[in-house]
Symmetry: C2
Subunit: 230 residues, 2 copies
C-alpha cells in the first residue's frame, strides 16, 4: 500500500516540488514500520537514509557517554528527520530517533536527495530554511536552559507542544506525554516535573493524568512562561 506521492507536498522541504519530482521521490522510497520504543536509527550510525514520518510519532534524542538523554525534538507526521546526514557524503546521524508509538516512515537514500539537489535549487533553499529554524530553535532553547529556571522551561515546553500537537478538548488542550518525556524536553527530572505539575493543578492551571496533561488555562501558563507574575 504505497502512499500517494502528492501527499508528500505536506513536507515543508517538498512544498515547492513539481508533481513529477514528488513521484520520483516516492518511487525511490521504501516504507518502514516500527513498534513503540524501537528505533529508526542510532546516533553514530552512517546516515544512509533520511526519513519522512507518515504515521505515528517519534522523538529525536542525544545520549551522553553515561547514558543520560535529552530530547532534541518530537517528530510528527509529515516531518522530515535524519536529513542532516543528507548534506555531507560521509555523515553519521548526530542523534537517535525512537518511535513514541507504532510509527511508519518513508526512507529515502540520502545520496538520492543530494543528487536531486544538484538540479533543483528550490530543494536546497527549502532545506536551508528548515535548517535555519532548527538553528534558531536550538539557540533559543540553549539560552533558556542557561538562564531560565525550571518552572518557566516546563511552561514553555508545554506551550510548544500545545502548538505542535495539542488536541483541543472541551476542558482545554490535551497533551500525551509521560513526565519523563517532559523532563527530557525541559532539561530536568521527572520528579521535578511531577512536583511542578501538581502545584499547577492545585492552582487550576492544568489537569493531569497518566501520560496526559490538559492545559486548562493557557493564559496562566503563558504568564509563567513569560514571567509576567512574581
Amino acid at each position: 500500500m504505497p502512499i500517494d506521492p502528492m501527499s508528500l507536498r505536506q513536507v515543508s522541504v517538498f512544498q515547492n516540488a513539481s508533481d513529477d519530482d514528488l513521484k520520483l521521490i516516492a518511487s525511490h522510497s521504501i516504507e518502514r514500520s516500527i513498534e513503540e520504543g524501537e528505533f529508526f536509527f542510532f546516533q553514530g550510525d552512517p546516515a544512509v537514509y533520511f526519513y519522512v514520518l507518515i504515521a505515528g510519532r517519534a522523538k529525536l534524542m542525544q545520549t551522553n557517554p553515561t547514558g543520560q538523554q535529552v530530547n532534541l525534538r518530537t517528530i510528527n507526521e509529515w516531518q522530515m528527520f535524519g536529513a542532516l546526514g543528507a548534506v555531507r557524503e560521509d555523515a553519521t546521524y548526530p542523534a537517535t530517533a525512537q518511535a513514541l508509538e507504532h510509527s511508519t516512515a518513508l526512507a529515502v537514500k540520502s545520496d538520492y536527495l543530494r543528487e536531486l539537489m544538484q538540479t533543483r535549487p528550490y530543494l536546497s533553499v527549502d532545506l536551508m530554511k528548515l535548517m535555519t529554524t532548527y538553528i534558531q530553535e536550538m539557540q533559543e532553547r540553549y539560552r533558556e536552559l542557561a538562564t531560565e529556571k525550571v518552572e518557566r522551561r516546563i511552561a514553555r515546553v508545554l506551550l510548544r507542544l500545545a502548538a505542535q500537537m495539542g488536541v483541543k478538548i472541551d476542558s482545554g488542550i490535551e497533551l500525551t506525554f509521560t513526565r519523563q518525556d517532559l523532563a527530557e524536553m525541559s532539561g530536568t527530572t521527572l520528579y521535578t516535573v511531577s512536583r511542578v505539575l501538581s502545584e499547577w493543578e492545585r492552582q487550576g492551571l492544568v489537569e493531569t493524568g497518566r501520560e496526559r496533561v490538559v492545559i486548562r488555562n493557557p493564559h496562566g501558563v503563558v504568564s509563567i512562561a513569560e514571567e509576567l507574575n512574581p
Copy 2:
C-alpha cells in the same frame, strides 16, 4: 584599502567559488570597522547584511528579556556570521554580534547572496554544510548543559577554544579570555569559573592570569572533559 578578493577563499562557504565569483562578491561588499565592545548588529534587527570577519574577534550572543546573556560562539577571522538572515527574505538576526577587540568585517547584502545561490549550487551546498555543523554543535552544547556538571563544561570550553584559537607557547596553549567570557560560554558564572580554574592551577593543569589561561596539561583537561577520572 580593499582586500584581495582571492583571500575570500579562506571562508568555508566560498571555498569552491570561482575566481570571478569571489571578485563579484568582493565588489559588492563594504568594509566596516568597529571598536572593542561595539556591535555589528543586534538581535531582532532586520538581516540586511551578512558579514565576513577579516580582522579581530567578535562574539555572537543571545539576550533574554531580563538582560542575561549567553554566548553562542566566538567568531574568528575569515568566518562568516549573520548568514542565517540571508536565507529568508524577511529574516531578522537571531543573535547579537559584538566585537571583542577592534575588528573589521566585510558586509555583503543578504539579497545578493540569495541571488547568487540561485545560479551557484555549490554555494547552497557549502552553506548547508556550515549550517549542519552549527546544528550539531548546538545540539551537543545543549546536551552538555542539560546533563553535565560545570567542571566538565568548562573543560570542554577550554578545549574547544584551544582548538579554535589557542596559541602555542613553551609552557602550553595560551587562551585570551576573561572569566566572564568563559562563564558565558559554559553557561555558568565568573565566580565558578574562577574557583574551578584556581583549583586546576593548584593541580598544575593550567596557569592563569588576567584575561589569560594557559593549558599546561591538555591531557589532564581532556580527562576532566571526558570524565575519565573519578
